[in-house]
């Protein structure tokens, strides 16, 4: 492919790509994002290849492997064109039937369609499925269409048009103005206006200037940045190049986690192709603008996602934060002005340039414009990535899109903002989600993790989990964060272990104040948020642990016991055989009993006891009832036996 030397070249190429594509040619699009990969998309791809060969159809049917479609709960997902037929949970065994019936016969296989869990109504198209129907997919839309290893797929969708417009029709100042006017706020956590940050770096003295993409994605419950990078890397590169032009940078970096191998390799391919097509490197699109991008793999440290720490890491140093009186936008990598943006922030930029700041401003709320991608996970029915306009209510996200809480359990709260965020309880489900509302509720937007929790999650234990995570991840450079987190962890561990004391809650709050005031970086200043928000909304759970030594969610190992209800036990031997500790005593027709001293509380007996029987119970806050006298444990006639002796 000869390089593109002008805007017209790009246009012509796009026309050419679209021109040779026969819209009536059958096409199979197979999601090969990380989750679908884990559920077997490779095997499905191999089966498709094999079957097409067998039926001599390789030339007539196109196959495209894309990034994540979002509905990971039901992967592997395939979509068949023409007709946009969407099949879920596809296995290699389904493939021959799909090829013969749907591809050849244009017949729909109902078993593979989405069926509404309430009405049973089946849906053929992705956009009819409630999970997709209530979303507004702008940033994420490309993932459905694009093979990330083929730049022409992205170009066919209009990719790099925004870059061409910027380079040939706009001055850097105009680009800056447009992004400022759109009020695009950073999606990486802070929500800082991107345009203003760009301007600071542009105006700072010092050359060269750098632009950087943050794909560290440290939040342990979020994976949208990864999915964009894996599924549509060119959109991020286009956004980055536009930022570079506006700022006046010639060198860019992508900081991406080593643990995201697919993102790393797709990104490398994308860079290669962009260079080959003249969309990166010297004289981009014949405009004279020069820009190059290097990849820096991050080695898995949460704190390295912080801006100054990340810049240390790019310099090859240990990734810990620098003192804050100098801003990285003025003195970042090698002390040169450096602008850092999140993956999703930059992926929004081409859209803003193409459709304009006014269009962007028409989506979202007063203070938060555009859409936001959330990773909706935890105990909802439909786990996946969800893109909605800012201002959508939590209820719409969790119930309309997420399909509510699984297993008919009671909703308890939703965790947003990752380790720096908080937990929002049921009474605020109707709050609109944007940067400012979430902060008001004592949580934050963060990078968009949204973890639904149900009655089986212990709030205190969840707070302990986040503190434990942060304690491990604190770089230890400043005392309030390092020591504060350790003390908080000790206190929370004591509470969940039944060693909580009066006054612990107040002590936690006191430590929180100091950490917030005196820590060096935002890891420390926000570290207490999960604890504070849970104290605010779920104080009674803390008190139950401390005062009654009771875990209301029946989670905390030291506060619960497993117990077999003699009224319900049918002496089926299941739990006895599965108990890894030999702690269950009983035999056929003899009611089983757990020897508490041997039990390690692994919960296996609870899981394996047949659901209809449900004899294994968890109890907390009260002693285990004494076991039945030996004589009363026999079950006569194989039928359930009560306690009494006739």
């Amino acid at each position: 492919m000869p390089r593109l030397n002008s805007k017209e070249d790009l246009k012509a190429l796009r026309r050419k790509i679209i021109g040779v594509r026969d819209l009536n040619k059958p096409y199979i699009t197979l999601c090969s994002g990380t989750a679908c990969h884990a559920t077997g998309s490779d095997a499905v791809a191999a089966a498709i290849q094999k079957e097409l060969e067998k039926q001599c159809l390789t030339g007539e049917v196109g196959v495209r492997r894309t990034g994540c479609h979002g509905f990971c709960e039901r992967g592997p997902i395939i979509i068949i064109y023409p007709g946009e037929i969407c099949y879920l949970n596809v296995t290699p065994e389904d493939v021959p039937e799909i090829i013969s019936k749907t591809i050849k016969g244009r017949e729909i296989i109902e078993r593979l369609l989405y069926a509404d869990p309430n009405t049973g109504e089946q849906m053929v198209h992705e956009q009819d499925i409630p999970f997709y129907k209530y979303q507004t997919r702008l940033v994420f839309s490309g993932n459905l269409w694009v093979d990330p290893t083929n730049i022409e797929d992205y170009i066919a969708l209009g990719g790099y048009r925004a870059l061409a417009k910027v380079l040939h029709e706009m001055t850097p100042e105009e680009v800056l103005e447009e992004v400022k006017r759109a009020n695009l706020r950073g999606r990486g956590g802070g929500g800082f206006p991107a345009g203003r940050k760009w301007e600071t770096t542009r105006d700072a003295s010092g050359e060269p200037k750098y632009v950087i993409v943050n794909c560290d994605e440290g939040d342990p419950g979020a994976y949208m940045d990864r999915s964009i990078m894996e599924g549509n890397p060119h959109r991020v590169l286009e956004g980055l190049t536009i930022a570079a032009y506006a700022i006046g940078a010639t060198q860019g970096f992508v900081y991406v986690r080593q643990e995201y191998p697919l993102a790393v390799s797709n990104l490398a391919i994308a860079l290669e192709q962009a260079k080959e097509y003249g969309l990166l490197g010297e004289d981009i699109l014949g405009s004279g603008f020069e820009f190059d991008v290097k990849v820096h793999r991050g080695a898995g440290a949460f704190v390295s996602g912080e801006s100054s720490a990340l810049m240390n890491a790019i310099e090859g140093k240990v990734g810990e934060p620098r003192p804050k009186y100098v801003h990285t936008s003025e003195a970042g990598i090698w002390d040169k002005p450096s602008n850092l943006n999140n993956v999703e922030t930059l992926a929004n930029v081409p859209l803003i340039i193409e459709k304009g700041a006014d269009w962007f401003g028409s989506i979202g709320t007063e203070g938060s414009k555009g859409t936001k991608i959330f990773s909706l996970v935890g105990t909802v029915n439909n786990t996946g990535l969800v893109e909605v306009p800012m201002g959508t209510t939590l209820r719409d996200i969790i119930y309309k899109i997420g399909g509510g809480i699984r297993g008919g359990k009671r909703f308890k709260g939703v965790q947003t903002g990752g380790p720096s965020g908080g937990i929002i309880p049921e009474q605020y489900l109707d709050s609109p989600v944007d940067f400012d509302e979430l902060t008001k509720l004592g949580s934050m937007m963060g990078s968009g993790g949204m973890i639904a929790i149900d009655e089986d999650t212990c709030i205190v234990d969840l707070a302990r989990y986040f503190v434990d995570f942060l304690c491990d991840e604190s770089c230890g450079k400043c005392v309030p964060c390092r020591e504060g987190l350790k003390r908080m962890r000790e206190i929370l561990e004591d509470i969940v272990a039944g060693r909580g004391k009066e006054g612990d809650i107040e002590l936690l709050k006191e430590i929180a104040v100091v950490m917030k005031e005196a820590s060096l970086c935002a890891l420390g200043t926000t570290a207490a948020n999960p604890t504070l928000s849970t104290i605010r909304y779920f104080r009674d759970e803390y008190e139950a642990h401390i005062k009654e030594k009771r875990c209301p969610a029946l989670v905390c190992k030291d506060l619960i016991s497993y117990y077999i209800d003699p009224e319900k036990c049918i002496a089926c031997l299941k739990c006895l055989k599965n108990c890894p500790e030999g702690a269950i005593e009983g035999e056929k027709r003899v009611i089983h009993v757990i020897e508490q001293s041997k039990c390690v509380k692994c919960g296996i007996c609870y899981d394996v006891c047949p659901p209809k029987v449900g004899a294994v119970k968890k109890i907390s806050g009260r002693p285990v009832p004494p076991s039945l006298p030996e004589a009363e444990r026999a079950i006569r006639k194989g039928k359930k036996k009560g306690g009494g002796s006739d």
Binding site: P220, E259, A299, I314, E315, I453, P580, C602
Partner: protein, 152 residues
């Protein structure tokens, strides 16, 4: 060790003369050998003219780098938030009890190394355990033993 050092030298060669590449180099070593042997650190220090203390500092700071040898199979138990609220701690407990080791260490017979990780990007399958790159999703404590038995 001979053959290994040749690989090490090849990896070092990729980065020679460049600035700020130590982390990238160590990541390559880590993915090649699954750990960073002390002899290799000495070699890097000599060839790249970087003090060993600086290399150790980086290798011990990052989670993705290991200064201890690893077993034949590597188990990753996801403790990301989504897996956490779906019962991952019980899974980790079970693996630890079964192998009689703690997270972050290796069994004496070098059969398994056990590590905890944060979000593997497939929360829909949570709780997730990955052994040698094979994903096992929606697992319960009772399934742990059977999964481990598959890896000799």
């Amino acid at each position: 060790m001979k053959v290994k050092m040749k690989r090490v030298d090849e990896i070092i060669e990729r980065y020679k003369g460049e600035e700020g590449v130590l982390i990238q180099l160590l990541l390559d070593i880590q993915s090649e050998f699954n750990w960073i042997p002390h002899g290799v650190i000495a070699r890097i220090s000599e060839k790249m003219r970087i003090p060993t203390s600086q290399i150790y500092r980086i290798a011990s700071f990052y989670k993705a780098m290991s200064l201890n040898p690893v077993g034949r199979h590597i188990i990753h138990v996801c403790l990301g938030t989504a897996c956490q609220v779906r019962g991952a701690p019980k899974i980790l407990d079970r693996v630890e009890e079964n192998l009689k080791i703690k997270e972050g260490s290796t069994t004496a017979d070098m059969r398994f190394s056990l590590r905890r990780v944060n979000c593997l990007g497939c929360c829909a399958m949570g709780p997730v355990v990955v052994v040698d790159g094979n994903y096992h999703g929606k697992i319960t404590p009772a399934m742990v033993e059977d999964i481990l038995e598959k890896y000799e």
